[in-house]
């Protein structure tokens, strides 16, 4: 297929996934803010949401003061923030628009109607009301988009690039979420336990639709290291790093021009770590180090995908 087409499809899927993850992060942070906690200031409470989306620095420049209202509006609707839900959905639509010819009618209609429906939210101040409904809407729309792709697209390279974008983006988001939350919730040398911890960890799980899965698998109190295991190594947990790389490795192998490329080799290397790794070892050498390495490698795969498939120069 055309390199440019593959590029647009890949980014369309990444932006949809990004919007969904942003909505998830906002939703749980907002939920947590409803649990009384006197030890923590508003700024301390909302900063991690910025960190997860990698927007701490530009937020400082664009807005400055960290308040609930500011962060909510910046992450949901601000056009200056390239990772805001607004910007992500707009970019997804622009990418789709550029290559609609390669999409099934249903896929295009699904993504176009996201944008058309979005207009109803434009005037809303989510720090006052409607944030939950909005986040639910974004999540539902993202589910629908994936379902439509899965249910209607020919299983060719176009489909593969859409899926590739989804999982590269999701792996990045899950790793960031875990990294920030773990760091924040587990200051060194402090014992865990207590109601706030429970709410914190359950909200982390809920943000990746994993609370029920946790309860089903472990049938026990929420232990931070088990949360980490669930989100990194468990292959049956659809938003875990392992699950993402199970998909990525298959997709890269299935692409018609898969031979001799660095993206495939790198993905295999990461996949092996996730597949054969033990959570104990990861903790021994540091979860934070493990996750930042992962985020770097995942990013590198993204660059290699570009070099090899999407911006091919001759």
């Amino acid at each position: 297929m055309l390199s440019r087409t593959a590029d647009h499809l890949y980014w369309m899927a990444r932006y949809i996934e990004r919007a969904e993850n942003m909505a998830r992060a906002l939703d749980v942070t907002y939920n947590m803010s409803l649990v009384p906690n006197e030890d923590i200031t508003e700024a301390m409470f909302w900063s991690p949401a910025l960190e997860i989306s990698g927007t701490t620095e530009i937020y400082e420049k664009d807005i400055g003061e960290v308040t609930a209202a500011n962060v909510i509006n910046y992450l949901a609707m601000d056009q200056r923030n390239p990772s805001s839900i607004y910007s992500a959905l707009k970019s997804a639509r622009e990418n789709a628009h550029a290559v609609r010819v390669t999409m099934t009618t249903e896929t295009w209609e699904s993504i176009n109607s996201i944008w058309l429906e979005f207009s109803q939210f434009l005037k809303q101040d989510f720090s006052k009301k409607g944030l939950r409904e909005f986040c639910d809407w974004v999540k539902t729309r993202s589910h629908l988009f994936r379902g439509v792709c899965f249910g209607t697209m020919l299983r060719d390279d176009a489909f593969n690039f859409v899926r590739l974008g989804t999982f590269i983006e999701r792996a990045d988001n899950t790793a960031r979420l875990l990294d920030v939350k773990y760091h924040l919730l587990l200051p060194t040398g402090q014992e865990v336990g207590g109601a706030v911890d429970y709410y914190e960890w359950s909200s982390v799980l809920r943000s990746v639709s994993a609370l029920q899965a946790y309860q089903k698998i472990f049938n026990d109190t929420i232990e931070p290291w088990r949360v980490a295991e669930l989100l990194t190594l468990r292959c049956d947990m659809p938003r875990s790093l392992h699950a993402c790389f199970d998909e990525i490795i298959l997709i890269l192998e299935a692409l018609s021009n898969s031979k001799n490329n660095e993206a495939f080799r790198l993905a295999g290397e990461i996949h092996a770590k996730l597949h054969y790794g033990k959570i104990k070892d990861i903790f021994q050498s540091g979860l934070h180090e493990f996750l930042s390495d992962f985020i770097k490698s995942n990013d590198l795969i993204g660059q290699e995908i570009h070099k090899h498939f999407l911006s091919a120069t001759y």
Partner: protein, 476 residues
Amino acid sequence: MAKTNTFFDEMTSGKDEIRSIYSAYSQWLKDTSNTQLKSKNQEAELLFRRVGITFNVYGETDGAERLIPFDIIPRLLSSKEWDFISKGTIQRVKALNMFLHDIYHDQLIIKEGLVPQSLLQNSQYRPEMFGVDVPNQIYAHIAGIDIVRIDESQFYVLEDNLRTPSGVSYMLENRKMMMRLFPELFRRYSVAPVEHYPQVLLNNLRAVAQNGIEDPTVVLLTPGAYNSAYFEHAFIAQQMGIELVEGKDLFVSKNSVYMKTTEGPRRVDVIYRRIDDDYIDPLAFNEISMLGVPGLLSVYREGGVTLANAIGTGVADDKATYMYVPKMIEFYLNEKPILENVPTYDLSKEDDLQYTLSHLNELVVKEVQGSGGYGMLVGPTSTKKEIEVFREVIIKNPNNYIAQPTLSLSQCPTLIDESIDSRHVDLRPFVLSGKETSVVPGGLCRVALKKGSLVVNSSQGGGTKDTWILEKNHHA
């Protein structure tokens, strides 16, 4: 100028009797409440917006997307009327293709003195194409011939569109919409199908690949997502199952054109291009164009790739050339023209200029190279001031204009707000040439939605209708 009540009406012929072709439909229309029609109309608009059938209007703020208004009342033509139109348009396109071959080779028609030598000075004449042989001697693979009707038997060709004619997606999508909204009408009538258009086009494009290429690769070259007709480009490419490419997807190497794919370079044999000559190759034409493919023209001239339409077709659909088409038909085909031209005044001729200047309030004056309904004067509907302003413009550069009598375009019942009123229409059938020349039964029917307006262009407030060629006549 004709009085309002003397316009030919497609349904009632302007009197109070229903024309036989409309007898069943008019009964249905009578039995259907305006509220029902209105709700069908809203349904259509919703569906069109959802699939994104919009177009960009140049000059509107931030390239806003807009729907071309769609009218749910079709225009009906009998198979006999269609037979006449299709024969006439095919004849015309055949002659135009022969004319293009001739003026880029032996120029016999000029040597015979039938068309003036000055046509070669036209900026749309491309000297680069002189002596270049194109497969099957086809230049205009896709032609849109604009036809208007004046009365029961009088049709005129308003203009030929031979560069990158657009609008065929509306023919196809309007039909799809009508079948969705009114399946019962399609059960009752036998409406000639149009859905095979993309297949006919693809077969033609494959037939004009250079000799010896088996299973040629055909692509559609678009200026990109911000072009006003992008929706159509995407739609047709999808319907034909070919890649929709932009200039940056293609590159030239060793007398061939390639596209960049995720699997490496792939050779391209036929390019259905929807980019104008001026922008198609920055090395040959407009050097600041970012839309084209550097080096494309030289590959094309050497026969390394086929372009559809060919480079340099603009000289044949120019309004200054238009008036010679009947002579071309006689000269090349040795036939009498089936469809007539609108009588045209050539303002580069002193007599015609004088006549025009003293009859501006009756005439339509058009720029020779204008399109889209811009840069024209419709005398009868213009104010005195507008006429005087335009007079100055003409006097400055008369060669740039032609004039025609204001035509009493036929009217068609049209849903306006909540009631049915008459509006003026035209018809653009699409004539396809490859191995053979043919035309799909139907076309783009444009309707001027402003009351009394004779300008049907979408950029000037026009809408579209489905056109039904009824295979036999129907009675209520």
